[in-house]
Amino acid sequence: MSDAPSYLTADNRLRSWFLTTDHKRVAILYFATITLFFFVGGAAATVIRLELMTPQGDLVTSDVYNRMFTMHGVVMVWFFLIPSIPATLGNFVVPLMIGARDLAFPRLNLLSWYLFLIGGLTTLYAVFVGGIDTGWTFYTPFSTMYSNSHVVLAVTGVFIAGFSSILTGLNFIVTIHRLRAPGLTWYRLPLFLWSLYATAVILVLATPVLAMTLLLVALDRFAGIGIFDPAKGGDPLLFQHLFWFYSHPAVYIMILPGMGVVSELISCFSRKPIFGYKFVAWSAIAIAVAGFFVWGHHMFVSGQSVFAGLVFSFMSFIVAVPSAIKVFNWTATLHKGWIRFDAPMLYALAFIGLFTTGGLTGLFLACLAYDVYVTDTYFVVAHFHYIMVGGMVTAYFGGLHYWWPKITGRMYPEYWARAAAILIFFGFNMTFFPQFVLGVLGMPRRYHVYLPEFQVWHVMSSFGASILAVAYLLPLLYLGWSLFFGRRAPANPWGATGLEWQTPSPPPTYNFETTPSVTRRPYDYSVSGQAHAQNA
């Protein structure tokens, strides 16, 4: 073991952090920024849940409420979830897992963070000067012609952040293709990398269409060019086609990395190779590809043709299959595994249950007839929160805890972590399960005034949200504590396979003393009790 300083202490000047090209430091920069945005989005959610405790619109006006749910959506989707796992855990772990010194384009990596920051600050500024009331979906012609809010500013922020996404995706694709250590063939790659590769493909191919769409909205609004103006023959439905061509694959950006993390956690904490490795690997690719064919299921009642509706509905059923394949394989991995209920594993198990619930309700929504009944109700809201929060955010926390020792060189306090994980699970279900009921009962989304008979469910949901808020604060506290007082972590505290565990915790700037070479299959836990070095 060398005495080289870790990446954290190698250079303490501020400029060495803000001009870094070290992927690990860029990851830390992203961690800090997305945590900030998580709290902004969370603040909006707090206002929403407080308002919804009572059937009348008594806490905020309708106009303010519109701005709250818009801000919640815009910030959480583009400035928390989309970058979350890829830009933090991905940036940190990918070169290590691959046995490389850095990503293929380290300077582009830093640029992507700056673009993210500038985009985020622009959007925050839009919020600060009054916000937007269009919903995160910016539907025309309301957003282009009638809204009296800071639409141009907000879409500019998202437009800029979009380039950040594209650069991250580009970097991951080229890195995974070209920088793998000797012997690390595609079928020896950890599944986290397969998932991130699939995510990167979506980032690269879908985001540009969003960029064009938002540009057109801004131009329409700013210069009145009339591209989505029905009076000029423009078609608001075309906006929706362009918007959802990105935004549906975007939801796969917001789940695939989580699935990748879960594969790592399930395998490590059952001490078993993932069952059906190739199926899990290719299902990630299948989700990324098939996910591009289903966007019209957001438009079943919008006026698109019946034929289009049929095609999109059918494809939406198809895209559920690879997700189901993953769930079956994770479960099969657990069977006869040597299971440990450390905090990361609790998160992984929670993911499987919550994601499955969310995913199954997605099938309800894929059904044309049923969707007509529940579209734009809380059923949809519950569905996507089960996947994005119950799934992705849970996986993010799982991965955060799993790789925390590697990233910081410290162990977190295990019992606090397990308690927080359990509390998150309860708080989450208490918040969002009642929303399925509300949706079926007919409660529309984006409304803050509702019929009195819905109140009991809203109160339950808001109560759950208050538990969830506390539960999400706990990791902030004990992880922060661990940075100073946590037990120092060894290179491989979990006894896991994977090249990232073959380097010290935290790693030196250059990652590996000598380039490792790989000879064993992935998740090779065949030697009981101990993980062995991957070096030949």
Partner: protein, 213 residues
Amino acid sequence: MRRTPELAPQFVDLDQQQDAASLGMWTFLATEVLFFGGLITLYCAYRTMHPDAFAAAARHTRIAIGAGNTAIMLTSSFLVAWAVWCLRLNQGRIAALLFWCAAALGVAFLGFKGVEYAIEYRERLVPGFNFVAGGAGAGAQQLFFAFYFVATGLHAIHVAIGVVVLIVVGWRSRARAYSTRYHAPATVAGLYWHFVDVVWVVLFALIYLPGRS
């Protein structure tokens, strides 16, 4: 293996680095296909919905300038391809001249585009500013011109960026920064420029050719 200054630390050798650069540029170009592609999808939909209006609107465009600009773009692309070939023969100075000629053609393209925009402004064809169209489907004619200005405007921005890149690449070629063994930045810049040409070729067919017969 001796590490030369051009070799970045994350790469094992120059071949890996140049290969990665090429893949990276092609990935970026794929994003550009989808960026312009979104706009083209809009065009296809609107042209299908309003065929006569689009044909009428297209007739207002200046095909002479459009075709001339296409010839300019194709020539500059040819020069850039030739320049990269020169770099492979270690002929940096000839390559520099070719890159700069291509850049000059790019500037000429922008000049003619500016003239064309001025004509369209005079003829009141600019949506959002002074658009007045006669004849049937005036509203949809405005849609055509909205597409026209956004598409060619974005393309022009890409040309301008490309001109700067070509000037820099030409300058570095002359300074012997490239060799037979290492000239990936020039190749990759060439890919970008050729792609800008490809976009124009498609836009030309969509903008200048409809409704002429």
